[in-house]
Subunit: 457 residues, 2 copies
């Protein structure tokens, strides 16, 4: 075994403790009250990167949460890998559904439970430890490595794209390495070569100038909550087909070849259902569950609110109602265009009796990466060596908008080397991450760096 | 001027201070954390009734909030008036929309602002003061008077009906006097002779066993929030007609005579709209605004909740969604029957992919009182004498379910002697009550007692 691989095995307990320290920081980027914690997570990374032996470790202030960069680039003639990750996390609510405190990492059955355990603290941390395994053992780092770690992924990375555009030289590289996706199943190494895009919208409907007594006023004025439901009901038909005019115009149809490839992926629909306690799955008619989960666009209500939500009954006719609605996009749908189509359609459904406001939150482009890219091949071999199993290539339903931006601004492909699992419960209560995969992830990353020079074409 | 009427004029400032003390007690019956305050409000009334000179003043414990009774019944051969009121109030939320604290009565432009100012502390308190004006001036009380004051009106009076059934003798009377309605306009005395009934429902929809990542799972499972919206959208058609099968079966159609009477009521639609900051009103096609507000049944969403409601964007596919939906009923719709029809219809719309639970909160029967009843005539004359203006008789959109129960159990009519105004903002932030009407209300109640014996047929 190479010195770095031995170093990883010997220090895995320390690495875990360091990860737990990272997970204890409630770096919720979407909540402005947590701004200080997000900064603390950035500082934790600064310390880790410096300690690993990286150079030019820098905390860049932005208008929002900071961006952390670092590098170790000894070679002019070897490929440069830019590791991207994010140290911010989703909100932990609903907190009462967590079995253990969301920001107190708790180990159970070989998994660590905490918000951000998988998405993306646990996964991104592997690469820092991989580089450390070279630099601390005085082993030659096989490639140039750079890091860019942001604190705004969960709010749509508003400052990252301007930053990349402004720092093209600092970030110049041959590929981006990202661990923020799930493997296809336990012990089944997987590389995601496709991601859906995102358009995230909010609808706010305002009716009368105050909450009204539903007895006195009921029947005479439009009810914003009823209107909201009527609008949302018209966004999809009974076959799950999205009704926004023009929504499907840019969607690349699934080819027979693609559909065959989906069929070959191991997938147990019964297990999928029972894991969610559902009797029936549902979605767009005419497509399989796997196709619907990654190759077809979707529309989902993410949040809904109006009037009285408390205990008992309050006979109020609410003054306002609102919803968050997001759409997952596939090539070649453009988020801005889709946001515009959504807005136009919702406004066309809005009656004159209320005021309907539609605004766009963050969006992201869908992407599919060419399977012939040499970086993907090296990553697949690294996985094979560590996991002792062939890699599956698949498309994923989630969005990492930055992948499209790296392609556009830096002109490079991304390698989505995920160590997570679907059962990690990202964005849900009781998020977790397998400690075995944390360990294998570090080893896979180190092995990837070792193999990469041989794969350059 | 009679001694009682002079006494009222002389003591009006004291009466106001006593009312403010009453309003400072946050007796929110729907919130179990306020149980102690509801009790405090009951004790306040005990003290007031005893001090006024009433007899058999009693606090009756129930399974919930207490019922207060009292009486002064010197005569065998004169009519007995049972005053009904409620000392519980609606929740004050949303608190941030109040201009002054909801439980700190604040006087502005001749109105007192506080939760319960009009509904029903301010209005019901008038009758205690009216009786006091006789007993404190050693003037012969013209009729027998009884009181029944409850603390559960805003949660559907669950213990009142059993109490009335059990205490028919204690409560035996010739009519019930209730001040819990609005006058038709400022300085326009009005008697409500019709009330709508109520069926208040809650829908809870459960999908997957946890909140899911909308990227990873979006497109594969049914979204409870989308389903909720689709169900609610099917409750009414685009003409505002309720789609629940059988819903209108028992509805008494509006006769030409009734419609003519509605046309004669003073009503300024432009003022109504501008008071609500609305460009357009809305409701069931084919009926006027006034008809829709009181003589036609309605369906309104009272509350809506699902998923993420916070700042920014959270890409969650919610595990559950819920709504509170209530219907106002007109003669001869029965609340239990309507609740059953609602439940059946919602269940018929529910897809197999989620679990839909429908439950009924409190309900109430609609009622219309015969305009020939002598008590109504005496009340109209009392209004005329105090307000120096003819009384309007109208139907109201709200519900006072107990009116139907008094008819059923005690066999008596109710007189709805409202001193409120539509602008009182019942159930809304900044509820208020005119102090001038508080004063005139006490005088009208006292005058009514004085006149009543002469109207007995």
């Amino acid at each position: 075994m190479s010195a770095p691989q031995s170093y990883i095995d010997q220090h895995i307990n320390t690495f875990q403790d360091q990860l737990f320290e990272f997970l204890r920081i409630p770096s919720v980027s979407t909540d402005s009250r947590h701004k200080g914690y997000v900064m603390n997570a950035a500082k934790f990374l600064i310390h880790q990167l410096e300690n690993a032996g990286l150079e030019k470790v820098t905390l860049h202030e932005t208008g929002g949460h900071p961006i952390v960069t670092a590098e170790k680039c000894p070679y002019e003639d070897r490929p440069t890998v830019l590791v991207y990750g994010h140290y911010d996390v989703q909100p932990s609510d609903p907190d009462d559904l967590w079995n253990t405190p969301p920001f107190e990492p708790t180990v159970k059955d070989g998994r660590v439970y905490a918000r951000g355990a998988s998405d993306d603290k646990g996964q991104s941390f592997t690469h820092i430890k991989a580089v450390e395994s070279y630099l601390k053992t005085d082993t030659e780092l096989p490639v140039n490595v750079k890091f860019i770690l942001e604190g705004e992924e969960e709010i749509g990375s508003p400052h990252l794209i301007p930053f990349i555009k402004k720092h093209k030289d600092l970030l110049a590289c041959d590929m981006v390495l990202i661990s923020d996706t799930a493997m296809f199943g336990e012990d089944q190494p997987s590389i995601t070569y496709g991601l859906r895009g995102l358009a995230y919208m909010e609808i706010n409907i305002v009716g009368p100038n105050r909450d009204l007594h539903s007895g006195v006023y009921g029947g005479t004025v439009e009810n914003p909550a009823n209107v909201l439901c009527e609008i949302i009901a018209k966004l999809k038909d009974s076959n799950g087909v999205i009704q926004i005019p023009g929504f499907y115009d840019a969607v690349q149809p699934l080819t027979a070849e693609m559909r065959d490839a989906y069929k070959e992926l191991p997938f147990n629909e019964e297990e999928y259902k029972s894991g969610l306690d559902l009797k029936e799955l549902d979605g767009e008619k005419g497509y399989t569950t796997l196709e619907r989960s990654s190759a077809r666009p979707t529309l989902d209500v993410n949040g809904l609110w109006s009037g009285y939500q408390g205990e008992g009954a309050k006979t109020v006719l609410p003054a306002a109602a609102g919803a968050k609605v997001s759409m997952r996009l596939v090539p070649d749908q453009e988020p801005d265009k889709i946001a515009e189509l959504f807005t136009d359609y919702v406004q066309s459904l809005a009656p004159d009796t209320v005021t309907v406001e539609v605004k766009a939150h963050h969006g992201g482009y869908p992407i599919v990466i060419d399977l012939d890219f040499y970086g993907l091949k090296a990553a697949a071999q690294a996985f094979r060596d560590v996991y002792e199993k062939d890699v599956l290539f698949s498309r994923e339903g989630g969005s990492i908008p930055i992948v499209a931006d790296f392609k556009k601004v830096l002109g490079v492909n991304s390698i989505l080397m995920g160590f997570g699992l679907t059962r990690d419960a990202l964005h849900s209560p009781n998020e977790s991450f397998s400690l075995k995969d944390f360990h294998r992830g570090i080893k896979t990353s180190a092995r990837f760096m070792e193999l990469l020079p041989d794969f350059v074409e």
